[in-house]
């Protein structure tokens, strides 16, 4: 049932932007005065809060460690301490964590909230610019509807940050943006300060179906690859002309004309934009690794990656993450070989980077449950099924993939106080996020209706949350 909806969604399913490995410098690589370096800056302001001390909880740090009977102190928006018997400042709000668990805020590195919001009406279909197979010029942030009711539901599921990506209908779908899960009247007020952009690319069936059905290129997988290569070849020339101009001297000539498409791809090759590739099949992921070598860019994560288990070692060797579902499979040919142990088999390799992602307004609310399914499978096969290990798939690994691991993704002193207090182990169908803190401020409380955000859209609809 509802298959038509699923398939329609599929056409737009994946997009991702990723900045790989390299440290991100700015939103825009160009240095010249006449080209804006950051034309749509973040205006996010953290909500002020007194210090908060959670006492005597089971703490999963997100780095793979578990500390029992531990305290977590948040102060001035940062993690001020994690450990046993911490001293609380006099003005701290004390929370009894006995019997409860504390984790970093969950980070979803593949969301379309805001760009494919609820309700899913035609006026809101803003996630795929399906007018050209290569649209590195479009930015998902310019499509975000900040009133998407889905943000509130994701928050109730413990999600504090996410990468909002364009869809996967195009070979190169555009830039994605990292947002904090805090409602505002503009996307700029949600935009994660300092986070790099990501570029969303897509392998396989979607682009060739979308354009092949219009009788234009690409209509085959070889057409897909020709499309990526042509785009990067153009961008290489563009990058050179800017390099020459920026180097100054006699030969510099006139300032090159800014080109939104090529600017994005040049920034990818400079390492300023992370690369997130929607790619299901092992062979296609291997192919994209060669493409990345050809144009000297780094792939941050393969998204959906249902066959990542077949190439777990090369992924680990190349420092590439895989952002995966626990059990979605079979809705199209490239998803046919999905197995429930995918995440566990990727995770078991040394230097791997396994991520549980959602790509879904439903899934983003229950990423902890998705991870719990993987835990069950890992344990059954004698792999590491510990909760402290699984927490990495939901926080530090996605933070790495989207370039914010220097400031969030784990409970470590000095990082942003993005914290979830759970009613017990998070890896259960009965788990509930009781309190969710973003930058140290309590943004969701399951026991306090005043701390449960409601989007403008739901006002006056006669529905209680």
């Amino acid at each position: 049932m509802r298959k038509s909806c699923l398939i329609a969604a599929m056409a737009m399913l994946s997009f991702s932007v990723a900045v790989a490995g390299k440290s991100s410098k700015s939103d825009n690589p160009e240095q010249t005065a006449s080209v804006a370096t950051n034309p749509y800056p973040s205006t996010y302001q953290r909500i002020g809060s007194a210090p908060v001390m959670i006492r005597n909880a089971t703490v999963l740090t997100g780095t793979g460690e578990r500390i029992d009977n531990a305290d977590v102190l948040m102060r001035d928006g940062k993690i001020a301490g994690v450990g046993k018997n911490l001293d609380a400042p006099d003005n701290a709000t004390l929370i009894d964590g006995t019997g409860k668990w504390v984790t970093p805020g969950i980070i979803d590195d593949h969301s379309h909230l805001g760009v494919y919001p609820s309700p899913g009406v035609s006026a809101h279909e803003d996630g795929n610019e399906l007018t050209n197979p290569t649209t590195p010029n479009v930015w998902a942030e310019h499509s975000i509807w900040p009133q998407d009711p889905g943000f509130a539901k994701a928050l109730a599921g413990g999600v504090t940050s996410m990468l909002v990506l364009p869809g996967s209908g195009n070979l190169i779908g555009g830039r994605g943006v990292v947002v904090k899960n805090v409602y505002g009247n503009s996307y700029q007020s949600m935009k994660f300060p300092g986070a790099p952009h990501s570029l969303k690319m897509a392998c396989g069936e979607n682009p060739k179906r979308v354009y092949g059905s219009k009788g234009s290129s690409p209509s085959t997988r070889m057409g897909n690859v020709a499309g990526y290569r042509s785009a990067f070849i153009d961008a290489r020339g563009y990058m050179k002309s800017w390099d020459k101009y920026n180097a100054g001297g006699k030969e510099k000539g006139d300032e090159p004309t800014q080109d939104l498409r090529l600017e994005t791809l040049a920034a990818v090759m400079r390492g300023d934009i992370k690369v997130q590739i929607h790619c299901y099949r092992a062979d296609e992921m291997m192919l994209m690794m060669d493409l990345a070598k050809e144009f000297n860019f780094k792939i941050s994560s393969f998204h959906h990656a249902v066959e990542a288990y077949k190439i777990a070692q090369p992924l680990a060797d190349n420092g590439i993450c895989a952002s995966m579902w626990a059990d979605w499979w079979g809705f199209k040919m490239e998803a046919l070989d999905g197995i429930q142990e995918n995440i566990a088999l990727v995770d078991r390799k040394k230097n791997s980077c396994a991520i549980v992602h959602s790509d879904s307004a439903e899934g983003i609310q229950r990423l902890n449950q998705e991870a719990a399914k993987v835990i069950a499978r890992s344990s059954a096969l004698g792999m590491n099924g510990s909760p402290e290990n699984a927490m990495r798939w939901l926080s530090l690994n996605p933070a790495k993939a989207i370039g914010i691991d220097n400031v969030t993704g784990s409970l470590e002193q000095g990082k942003n106080a993005d914290v979830v207090l759970w009613n017990g182990t998070p890896f259960s169908v009965y788990a509930k996020a009781e309190k969710v803190y973003i930058d140290g401020a309590l943004m969701f409380d399951i026991n306090n209706k005043n701390l449960q955000p409601v989007s403008d859209f739901m006002i006056g609809q006669g529905v209680s949350p």
Partner: protein, 417 residues
Amino acid sequence: MKRLLLIACLLSGPAFAQNVLIKNATVHTAGTRGTLKNTDVLVQGGIIRAIGPNLSAPGVTSVDAKGKPLTPGLFAGLGDIGLEEVSAEKSTVDASFSLGEGVTGQMRPEFDVVPAFNANSTLIPIARLEGFTFTALSANAGSSLLGGQGAIMRLNGKFDDPIGSRILFASMGSSADELSGSSRAAQYMLLDQAIREARGLSPYDYKQALLTPAGREALNKFLLGGRTVFHVERASDIRQVLAFAKKNGMRPIIVGGSEAWEVAAQLKADNVIVFVDALQNLPSSFDQIGSRIDNAALLQKAGVRVGLYRSDDSSQNARKVRQTAGNAVSYGLPWEAGLAAITSVPADAFGVGDKVGRIEVGLMADLVLWNGDPLEVNTFAEQVWMNGQAMPMTSRQTELRDRYMSEESGMPRAYQK
């Protein structure tokens, strides 16, 4: 040799299904006896013959459950297991029937999906090894408000007939607007017209006839006691459907029901079973503005019998039905009602409660032994029996897993069987 093989096949058929004695289980009957601790279940000839403490049956294979939960086989929801292999590949999908483009109003309720059922589908073992043993094969809306007929199919992977009677599938509300000239109001107009035809109140060959002669016969069965699934979400539409069904003497089952909690009293009064997706808590469409995470709990509290299903990816990922039940329980549905919602309630709703859906003497022995709470996401089925026969706990997915779990041998994986 061939004859031996034939005999082996016959022996493995349901008529010769194994006998088994499952000892010391925590038996969740999903029936009036509730949960029974330290209880044995005796299966003979594929049928549950006895339930109680300290049973013995000489010569019958016995399995020690060690106190683990034993449930009836679960309901895999309303979907297309066996009717589709890969959703996006049309050549593998047989779950809907479409007339020519631009045809509006015509209905083919005589379309029956059952002949398309493929007992060899890889989806069957994939669902079954997660504890799912029966499903409602659904006829999806093709080009008609009445998608056609489906039936309850057991997931034993055999070329068996479905159990129970055929079910008619109808789509109502905004998702079916295109099938009714852009207005949901016309859905009642068109169905009224079809029903008049089915009842013989219209001439056979008038110009705007909606039904073929076979369609009239088929629809008439569902006016005389057959069960009709109405896929409908909005509260006001559910009220209309209930009134429409009552007026026409139909037996409705509501599926979708995102806003069913708003009309719980009416559903209770009409004694109608509702299937909801307990993960549906967003205003995904204007018909679902009132979606709530505690929909199932509110309905149950109001005395409505609630079944659970998964609305998206309901075939390949039918196993997610178990997660919907766990979430419904997490948000207020009593645990026993959560289990019933994916066992006895669907069995009753589709008229097969005398065969499957409970652990009761006389019912088919479709049973599942779990390594923990069957409604949890971090547990799994340890063993599934159908008609008392232990089913292989393997699928195409576990075989792929095993191929890639093992160390590399120096030869390509293709040589690893």
